[in-house]
């Protein structure tokens, strides 16, 4: 990670205005968005959008041709190009031909993408942004920090400062007054502009129409008052049919700003009448700029299903801390990382892709059904395969790749009897997060790992066998969780086996782009876990369970180790997370949890992989309530705790405030205990409370349930 990137992150995190405004907005957004979608089946809606948009993306050339024919038939002039330079040259040519001196613009990310303003201004043409946020940014000489709310990082005082300078009058920071000033100031610009430049939110192939969605009403003036209208349309904006605007218009305002509909939607088809009665000179520029290449890429073609609502930014625990400027580019947040990698270059996304925690929030709310976390992992993979790993990473993964060496080093660590504070690369291993003692204390490495303790557990003889996949954290840091699990499963009539050859699940390697290492981990585990015939392979770590159920298959496929796929599928089918299994056993009457005792208030933290990949959230809650706990939900119970595997090691300045927020939300419930199903979250949250000296007990569900067995 580059130094200047690190310092821009640190600067952003310590900018109270920014994190305050974004934090408040993201909290309100979640509630308002839900309200805006009342009565709408979001899954069906986004299924339709994804289908319609992916159809268009798969037929970009046809869409562009059809659009061109229809728009030209309606009287528009259509210009198609892949090259941003040609877009700019074309606009300048149109401006020169029409003797254009000043331009008014309504918000267009496509124009930002090609840095159009600079270009026109260098060529002597005055350019005025008219979207209030964009105008503020233009006056401040900055870049937008959010796709939909460009100036969200600025205070009213800063805005009043800028406006005062612009209108030569001392203004107060009264917001309605500032808006009034903008209205008056920009009104005269609208009236004297010779050219209006807009983007488009949707372009309809079958009618040659463009659709503009705004709240302020500036797009209406930009497209009405000047004689010439130029619309710059990124070709990902295509839909095939006119009726396809319905699902997009249903989702876009709801997802962007939690509105049922924006104040204005304009559907423009060909030139309309000018104010002097002549017909408008309408130019529509279809801009490719690598979108066709993207559409041809199996992994990234889905990015063209994006409707640019920005909801991925609004729900991102990292974005709400750092805002858009650390992304250093026009497009920000999760989708911005992907667009930057394509529209600029893969290399430019090297630092910013590392901001993604892989928590999966964005995937849940995306109206285009984009799997942003997955595309970011793919960027990581490609960067690593192009550039190779760093030396530190290489040495880490060469150890992780060798189970015997890996495990013997962990044992050595435990002999030292204290968490590592220095020395060697072992401290960089996935959970030896010694650099993080600032924000939380670390668990001691267990004196005796679970794999050794397991041999000493006397299990009753049972017919049915179940394999336990411990994962590194339970094995070497929290063996007591493993023991609790064995106790519970014995009660339910299972003999637990622990295949000693099992090793790291490969998630750390995978999340760092080292897919070859992850594939080797997968193969080692498949061998170990399919050697004995068992009813289930159970894990009490959601990240490990995701690896067993999904990632092994994917990794083997990408790394072309197809000979292992059948075995991997077999393993996937048998794999199950702890709470789902136990809930099932209780429902089947195979397991009794002591009832009738009041254990007091508890709150539950949803781990990212459990909730959003495995879709498990009710099971542990039901089990805990059955055991006698009174559930008191915390605010943002399913927001990431900031652990994110080695993320907290690489970006502690982001991980720490995310953890702080989590601790605050837990404390506010007044519960004495917080339960969770992930040992990684336990590490993060327990460590946070230890450091703070808090009185909240942090436990894995498996421990709490083992105590309550009849």
């Amino acid at each position: 990670m580059k130094k200047d990137f690190k310092s821009s992150v640190s600067k952003a995190v310590h900018n109270a205005t920014l994190t305050g405004a974004l934090g408040k907005f993201s909290e309100a957004y979640k509630v308002n968005r839900q309200k805006a979608y009342e009565g709408i089946d979001f899954e069906t809606l986004r299924e339709t959008i994804a289908e319609r948009k992916s159809y268009a993306a798969a037929h970009l050339d046809l869409m562009a041709q059809t659009f061109q024919i229809n728009a030209e038939a309606a009287g528009a002039k259509v210009f198609r190009t892949n090259d941003p330079e040609e877009v700019k040259a074309y606009i300048l040519k149109v401006a020169r031909e029409n003797d254009v001196k000043s331009v008014v613009k309504s918000k267009s990310m496509a124009s930002e993408e090609i840095h159009l303003n600079d270009y026109l201004e260098k060529n002597g043409i005055e350019v005025g942004e008219t979207d209030l946020g964009e105008w503020i940014i233009q006056l401040a000489g900055q870049k937008p920090s959010h796709m939909v709310m460009p100036a969200i990082h600025m205070t009213k005082e800063e805005v009043s400062e800028l406006f005062s300078k612009e209108v030569n009058e001392r203004l107060t920071s009264d917001i309605p007054r500032l808006v009034e000033v903008a209205r008056n100031e920009l009104r005269s610009k609208f009236l004297r502009a010779d050219m209006g430049i807009s983007g488009a939110n949707i372009a309809v192939a079958e009618t040659g129409s463009i659709v503009l969605v705004t709240n302020e009403g500036n797009a209406r003036l930009v497209t009405t008052l000047p004689r010439v209208h130029v619309a710059i349309v990124g070709i990902e904006k295509f839909v095939e049919k006119f009726e396809d605007v319905v699902p997009v218009l249903t989702a876009l305002p709801r997802s962007a700003t939690a509105q049922l509909l924006t104040s204005y939607v304009s559907i423009i088809t060909g030139p309309a009448q000018n104010t002097d009665g002549s017909m408008k000179d309408l130019h529509i520029i279809l801009m490719d700029n690598r979108r066709t290449d993207m559409a041809a890429d199996d992994k990234f073609k889905q990015a063209l299903q994006c409707i640019r609502c920005g909801s991925c930014l609004n729900v991102c625990p990292v974005f709400r801390l750092v805002g858009g400027h650390v992304f250093g580019s026009v497009y920000t947040g999760g989708i911005g990382t992907i667009l930057t990698a394509w529209f600029e270059e893969m290399q430019k996304s090297e630092d910013i892709q590392g901001l993604c925690l892989q928590c999966g929030n964005c995937k849940e709310v995306c109206p285009g059904k984009l799997d942003i976390p997955d595309m970011i992992l793919e960027i990581r993979r490609r960067l690593v395969s192009q550039k190779g790993q760093t030396l530190v990473q290489k040495s880490i993964f060469s150890v992780v790749n060798n189970r015997k060496l890996f495990h013997s080093m962990l044992r050595t660590a435990s002999l030292a009897g204290k968490p590592f504070t220095s020395g060697g690369f072992i401290r960089h291993l996935p959970f030896f997060l010694s650099e993080l003692t600032e924000m939380r204390s670390l668990p001691a490495i267990a004196a005796e790992p679970f794999r050794d303790r397991f041999e000493k557990i006397a299990q009753p003889k049972q017919k049915e066998k179940i394999a336990f996949y411990a994962g590194c954290l339970i094995d070497f840091a929290y063996p007591e969780m493993g023991e609790a699990l064995v106790k519970i499963l014995n009660k339910a009539g299972f003999e637990v086996i622990f295949p000693q050859e099992q090793t790291c699940c490969g998630a750390p390697a995978l999340y760092n782009g080292a897919w070859d290492v992850a594939a080797q981990n997968a193969i080692d585990n498949i061998k170990a876990l399919t050697a004995t015939d068992v009813s289930y392979v159970v894990s009490a770590c959601p990240t490990c369970t995701v690896a067993l159920k999904h990632e092994f298959l994917k990794t083997l496929d990408v790394e072309k180790k197809t000979e292992w796929v059948a075995q991997a599928q077999k393993l996937a089918d048998k794999s199950i997370d702890f709470s789902t299994l136990v809930k099932k056993l209780v429902d089947d009457g195979r397991l009794n949890i002591a009832e009738g005792v009041e254990l007091g208030k508890i709150t539950y933290h949803d781990s990212c992989h459990l909730k959003r990949t495995l879709r498990v959230s009710e099971q542990p809650r039901e089990l805990l309530q059955k055991a006698g706990f009174e559930l008191s939900e915390m605010f943002e119970c399913d927001m990431c705790c900031g652990m994110g595997g080695s993320y907290s090691l690489k970006l502690p300045e982001i991980s720490a405030p995310i953890l702080e927020r989590k601790l605050k939300n837990i404390k506010e419930t007044g519960a004495g205990t917080v339960a969770m199903d992930c040992p990684g979250c336990v590490l993060q949250i327990r460590g946070g409370f230890d450091k703070e000296g808090g009185k909240v007990t942090v436990k894995h569900t498996v421990e709490l349930l083992a105590e309550r067995l009849k």
Binding site: A21, K24, F25, A74, T130, D131, L132, G133, I136, M149, P150, A151, M154, T155, K156, V159, I175, P176, L178, V179, E180, R183, L186, R187, L191, V204, T207, S209, N215, E216, G217, N218, R220, L221, T223, T224, F242, E243, V245, V246, L249, T250, T257, Q259, L260, L261, S263, Y264, V265, S266, I267, I268, T269, P271, A272, Q273, N274, T275, D276, G277
Partner: protein, 192 residues
């Protein structure tokens, strides 16, 4: 023709959603009754024959029927909508083609430039809506509008708004600060 009960229900749904985004909605039996309320409204807002106080009326069946009536005797009321007049108008009056009940939205073919001028430049936009043209939602609308025939189709949902400064909702940036809808039961129906 929509049945009265359905019509009332649609109107109520439209009104609720429109009011939720700051639209002022009134219902009248006839055009004449609407006009009887419109005239005092214009006077109360201070429409006058001076820059900044004009009222511009863009052609439509109801407005045409009022032309020559008392409306045209009010100083400052113009039935021709030019760029210059609209820019100095306090009030713009247009007749819309449809409304959508589920979002509180007005829909109008604004291919004719005076419709755009009258609805976008003045401080107050008064829209005349035929109650029987209220549709449930965009799905019901989409087959009734045709972009091949209508070059500029406008959806209007409440007054102009922004939240670009500190996320504080502020009304009236580049478009009207007030949107007043006069829903008239007696009308010539769908015109788009």
């Amino acid at each position: 023709m929509t049945k009265t009960a359905d019509l009332d229900e649609l109107y109520e749904r439209y009104k609720t959603k429109a009011q939720a985004v700051g639209t002022e909605v009134y219902r009248f039996g006839t055009r004449y009754e609407a006009l009887e309320s419109l005239i005092p409204l214009l006077k109360k807002e201070g429409v006058a024959d001076s820059a900044g106080a004009f009222a511009v009326c863009a052609a439509g069946p109801a407005i045409r029927s009022w032309e020559g009536a008392e409306l045209s005797t009010i100083p400052g009321v113009h039935f021709e909508v030019t760029r210059e007049l609209a820019a100095e108008a306090l009030i713009g009056i247009t007749e819309v083609d449809f409304a959508l009940a589920d979002t509180g939205t007005l829909v109008q073919d604004q291919s004719a430039v005076e419709q755009r001028l009258a609805s976008s430049l003045p401080t107050i936009h008064i829209a005349i809506l035929g109650t029987n043209t209220i549709l449930p939602d965009k799905g019901a609308l989409i087959t009734r509008i045709n972009p091949r025939k209508s070059r500029f189709i406008a959806f209007i949902t409440g007054p102009s708004r922004t939240a670009d400064i500190e996320r504080v909702l502020t009304i009236g940036v580049h478009g009207p600060k007030r949107l007043i809808v006069l829903a008239v039961d007696e009308s010539e129906g769908e015109t788009l």
